[in-house]
Amino acid sequence: MQKTALHQSHIDAGAKMGEFAGYDMPLYYEAGVMDEHLWTRAHAGVFDVSHMGQIMLEGAEAMALLHTITPSTFVGTPVGMAKYTVLTNKDGGIIDDLIVTKISETKFFAVINAGCKDKDIEWIESQCPETVTMTVLKDRSLIALQGPSAEKVLHETLYLDILGLKYMRMVQIDELYISRLGYTGEDGFEVSLPSEHAPTFWERLNEHEEVKPIGLAARDSLRLEMGYCLYGHDIDEKTSPIEADLSWLVGKDADVFLGSKRILAEKEAGSDRKRVGIKILDKGVAREGAVILNENDDPIGQLTSGGFSPTLQTSIGQGYVESNYSSPGSQVKVEVRGRKLAAEIVKMPFITPNVKTAKKA
């Protein structure tokens, strides 16, 4: 099993370790999932996400490459701006979801999923024109700091000047790439840095009284409350971005890209099924794979993620349903071990995001 540069730090902190995408990763620490989740929403949590892949695409046609392999448009995107997008295949399915940041008009930084690293790299390589160089940043780690205190913590512990940094923007400070974004719905940062500096950086953050280390289990419950997709569960090579309710990431002027035929047709006419948020109204917890039923108990879809929401203190999930059941407010049922739990289709996110630019409800 592979290890990140912070492996020993996790063990020293008493983490319960487990395998994720070929890496031995912290699932939770001594506080446990519930406390870690709520701590992140109230203060700041620090996450080791170094198992994720970091790549750099550079060359005159780097932007053209992105316009082929993703439905997004990077023309006119300001330098330093990050975008959430997907790699699509020729059939319009999703190879991976990723964040792409424009470093310059000819240079882009991308963070890809750990479990998709090898396949993505091979895929991008196969699509790369000769003028574009792809560099896999194997010697870099990635640390996420998330929560309402994240800005204060990063400023106080490392004296980094990030106070003016806007949501979905990156700033380079020496060898650090600091992006104001994350996977929790809280204000926060993801910091890419050379792995040799990662343990010191991690320790410094953890010394702050408002910081606790957070494992992958709470990372999952935090992202679920935000309605973010988990690759391999909520999206995969068969689902299109339109089915996944990600049509917003298709660029306005995007015309010919991989899978554009299906994706643009579905964008126009709608898809047969759609990813939705589901709130369980009865007691019980519905998880991935649970069948969603209509009022006549006929199956209309399946949960692709599900679990208990520590913030809402109820079970939530996301899944695909036939599109005529996808409107918020639709009453459905979710079958858990033979019990049919009352449930409702709801708008995602399930919580009010607290990111820098989000308006508070």
Binding site: L27, V33, K283
Partner: protein, 123 residues
């Protein structure tokens, strides 16, 4: 309590006269993490040793609770659903079901307190 017997799956059985009282150990409860829901069986249900008869949900996962012995469920501790903290080794508060045994000799295959404590020390 000396009369309590244990399984390798961390369930306990205490005989109260002819009635078997069943629960899970504090060790199991700790390992499950933050508990959020307990799904109980119906009274009158016949259960078979080694088969699951209840499910406890934590934030992260659903875990089945296996019957340490076979028999008929005579009583269910419905209060536990709202008092998940009570689940555990304390037979007064933490019991899950009571049952009539169909085969008392099954008790002899279970671990006593000392054997169980040795067993969890090595886990």
């Amino acid at each position: 309590m000396s009369g309590i017997k244990y399984t390798k799956d961390h369930e306990w059985v205490m005989m109260d006269g002819d009635v078997a009282v069943i629960g899970i150990t504090d060790y199991a409860k700790e390992a499950l993490g933050d508990l959020v829901y307990l799904e109980l069986p119906d009274e009158g249900k016949e259960i078979e040793k080694g088969r699951d008869f209840a499910v406890v949900e934590s934030v992260k996962a659903a875990s089945e609770i296996y019957a340490p012995v076979s028999g008929e469920i005579t009583e269910v501790n419905a209060q536990l659903v709202d008092m998940l903290d009570d689940l555990g080794s304390d037979p007064e508060k933490g019991w899950i079901v009571k049952m009539n045994l169909s085969n008392k000799s099954e008790l002899e295959m279970l671990m006593d307190e000392e054997a169980y404590q040795t067993y969890i020390k090595d886990l």
